[in-house]
Amino acid sequence: MESCDLLDHVARNDERAFGRLYERFADRIFRYALTLLRNRHLAEEVVQETMIAIWKNAESFGGRSQVSTWIFGIARNQAYTLLRREVAGERRSVEKLFLPDPAEEVEREEQVRAAMSALPVGQREVVFLAFYEGLSYGEIARILAVPEGTVKSRMYHAKQKLAGALT
């Protein structure tokens, strides 16, 4: 079943469809939140709050964008709400974005991780959404609520930094 059909069922209070939507998006939201926040506890909270918001607001999805664009937009808002709360309150601990795997760890992989972690958050999320989620610059602009030119520019500068760090 397509995500938009699942969302339609969720709007009609179908918990099974909600479970399937969760299976489809939880890890993707978690990784996106981790890319933004670099904190596993906060990323888990983003998944929770995003899914609750989807449950409550599924009927408001107008179909004007892809479901993933709508969901990542919600996740981003949740992540930044948490971030503001954390900045206003206690300091959050910044974790490594990736789980080290000693058996498969190679120097190049470590360099890639370090280069990604060194990017400013605005560029990091564009790289995540374009390279991992495979989204268009238009969809990313809608998620980030910025002009398309800003998305292109962030990607261009991110690519310059990454290429510089990895060559």
Binding site: R12, N13, E15, F18, G19, Y22, A26, D27, I29, F30, R31, L34, T35, R40, A43, E44, V47, Q48, M51, I52, W55, K56, L97, F98, L99, D101, R108, E109, V112, R113, M116, V127, F128, A130, F131, Y132, G134, L135, S136, Y137, E139, K152, S153, M155, Y156, K159, L162, A163, L166
Partner: protein, 126 residues
């Protein structure tokens, strides 16, 4: 902005195949005659491949997250009353969500099928 500069802004999305047909054709035409932009594209494809693999190694959402989500949407169960059997029966539940009004729902079980009779939240009576 030069042709190369305009094209290079689009190369990441040419690589992830999300450009419109017109944009993709314009990029392809430019690439056919510009070796510098072809080199740039090769670099982006390599980066995309490496980052895709790296992002895929990031941890998954903890297993307990779903329990927290469903507890929050259903609320804390205060009482659940079931009458009848698996084939024919009725259930009435009262729960308190984290925010908002208490939720009252009732279902009819009929030969293994669950039919919602009443729910004062999201959808209401069907």
């Amino acid at each position: 902005m030069t042709d190369c500069a305009k094209i290079r802004e689009l190369l990441s999305w040419y690589a992830n195949k999300t450009l419109s047909r017109g944009e993709a054709q314009a990029v392809a035409q430019h690439l056919a005659s510009c070796s510098a932009c072809r080199d740039e594209l090769a670099q982006i494809v390599q980066l995309m491949w490496e980052f895709n693999a790296t992002f895929a190694q990031m941890p998954s959402a903890p297993k307990k997250t779903w329990d927290k989500v469903i507890a929050s949407t259903r609320g804390i169960a205060i009482t659940q009353l079931d009458v009848g059997s698996f084939l024919l029966g009725i259930s009435l539940g009262l729960s308190v969500p984290r925010t908002g009004l208490p939720r009252v729902r009732s279902d009819l079980r009929f030969f293994g099928q669950k039919i919602k009779l009443f729910d004062n939240q999201k959808g209401g009576t069907q």
